[in-house]
Amino acid sequence: MTYNFLIDDGGTPLTIKKISRRILNAARYYTVPLGALIFFCVIMTIASPNFLKIDNLLNILRQVSINGMLALAMTFVILTGGIDLSVGALLAFTGTLAAGIISKNNFPVPLAIIIALSAGTLVGAINGIIISTSKIAPFIVTLATMNVIRGLAYIYTGGLPIRVVMPSFNVIGQGYIGPIPNPVLYFLILYIILDFMLKRTSFGRHVYSIGDSPDASWFAGINVNRTKFFVYTLTGFITAIAGIVLSSRMYSGQPTAGQGYELDAVAACVLGGASMSGGTGRLTGTLYGALVIGVLNNGLNILNINSFWQLIAKGLVILLALYLDDWKKRSME
């Protein structure tokens, strides 16, 4: 987050004025997600003395990290004007695959991780090939692959969770570096790497460009198909990371895991200001979006609001936030 403000693109020296202008710009851009985040944090702090405890904050961050990783990948997809509905199913498949290879086939942990990562990348690549070589909408393609992959997860596991209790594997999702839970660390590292990719590489500029206008990008000499292919492959790879972390943390690969996670990831992206039509959105926004959803989930539990009402509250908050964001954008124009 900080380097957004502190690293200068043009190499000109940073002045206080420049930095404060940037902070102001950022505040303007992220009004809704940041506002919602601060708003809910304040409410929760008043409501429950336990909310602001370090334990609970780390607990929220850890819960956010899986959805957060998916949302980071989803931001790339949404920036190209697409959507990937298969991430929830792929999360379950790669997670059960890693667990199964370790506990059923007794493969060493690093090998199992490499196989699961490759499987996730492969599925992403298949999505990418179909989407970039055809005119079928990404929504439809990934809806179909979502079913295929969920089916694979069920077939591979026989419908039952695969238990894996092995310290060298479980430490991936359960360990800590200092006070920070490992999943949070992976999430932050991924955020930094992906943010760099999106902002400072030609690949990142191409992602924005083809979301803005595929035709203009094509005329400008951007390989639209290859960029799309790479975005979906990257999503598969990141989803596999999340799947491995999740099954490591759960002591088991759950074939039913991740149902509806694709939509939570989309919600985090749009709360963070990404536009479903592509070309607009930032990873920092997605980070805030994921945090809003995490604080909201935690808050509704801590306030012990009935689980049926929680669904309604969550839906309404997302709707209200998006409406405010839309309103803000229109009034700025």
Partner: protein
């Protein structure tokens, strides 16, 4: 300006909603605070179980909240972690997956929160204080004992649920009685996974495969209701006895109308009451048993009127 005003109003509305919830919480912040998590609250069995836990906790002047992860193991763990952050004094738990629940058990242990398991056991039972379940083995035996008084022999179909520990024990108990009665033969053993939707086609297949089926034993009431639907559809109901375990309101209705022969009644009310009793004993420093079986009784047409018709016992 007008738009800002509307924005302000809607924010105020949300604040009001939340402070409403807060106010409710502050009012009774005294006493102990428990959480209870069930695999689902869309099954009347668990609604009855929670009602009983809530009643018992409230007679102590304390309170308990219900969590409904709706068969999602990850969500169940997340909700329990949130409750641990909130600082609960104890947890009543019915696991979605008896092995997958382990991270929640570890989190509770780390925070020194006692866990009492209700209705279905957990694999890592060293991480919990006590497990309160129906005597499922006895439930199967009761059905078997009733069967041998009614028939002199015959063909049996068993509809089981091979991944569910309580169901496995029920069938073991049932088979134990039949061991000393060689005049009965189990002609088919099929997996219905405890649901009506699965039991119906499985029973239809069994009816195609066997011309003579005298007895059906289903691992729970939904399973046996599915079997009855298949038997009625094939017009072979009148020649067949159907046994079950649960004693659900639907099951009792079937017993009254003569379609179901008997169901070994579980009592979610007793399970809940005993779980709360043991929780308070544990909190007062008493030693409680690691496993507590709750007795079951066989409901047949003879005694069905002694049980409440529209709810669980």
């Amino acid at each position: 300006m007008k738009k800002r005003f509307i924005l302000l109003i809607s924010l105020l509305a949300i604040v009001t909603c939340f402070s409403e919830a807060m106010g409710r919480k502050e009012n009774n912040n005294e006493g102990l605070f428990f959480a209870a998590s069930y695999m689902t609250l869309n099954n009347p069995f668990f609604v009855a179980l929670h009602q009983s836990i809530e009643d018992a906790v409230e007679t102590h002047g304390d309170r308990v909240v219900a969590l409904n992860p709706d068969y999602d193991q990850i969500l169940q763990i997340t909700q329990i972690e949130d409750m641990i952050s909130l600082g609960i004094d104890g947890l009543f738990l019915n696991p979605v997956d008896w092995k997958g629940i382990r991270p929640a058990l570890e989190a509770a242990n780390k925070a020194d929160i006692p866990v009492f398991v209700v209705d279905a056991p957990v694999y890592d039972d060293k991480l919990v204080v006590s497990t309160i379940v129906s005597d499922n083995h006895e439930a199967g035996k009761l059905a078997g004992l009733d069967l041998v008084t009614r028939l002199d022999g015959g063909n049996i179909v068993i509809l089981d649920h091979p991944t569910n520990k309580p169901s496995i024990n029920r069938i073991l108990g049932f088979l134990e009685i039949l061991q000393s009665h060689p005049e009965f033969t189990v002609v088919s053993r099929l997996s219905a996974f405890g649901t009506l939707e699965e039991a119906l086609p499985q029973m239809e297949n069994a009816l195609q495969a066997h011309n003579k089926i005298d007895v059906v034993f289903g691992s729970n009431d939904p399973t046996s209701l599915g079997a009855i639907a298949a038997l009625v559809g094939a017009k072979r109901m009148s020649k067949t006895l159907v046994y079950s375990v649960d004693g659900s309101p639907e099951g009792k209705e079937m017993i009254k109308s003569g379609l179901m022969t008997g169901s070994s009644a579980q009592s979610p009310r007793e399970i809940g009451r005993i779980a709360v009793e043991l929780m308070y004993k544990h909190l007062e420093g008493e030693i409680v048993p690691a496993t507590q079986f709750v007795p079951v009784t066989l409901i047949t047409q003879d005694n069905v009127d002694e049980f409440p018709a529209d709810e669980w016992q």
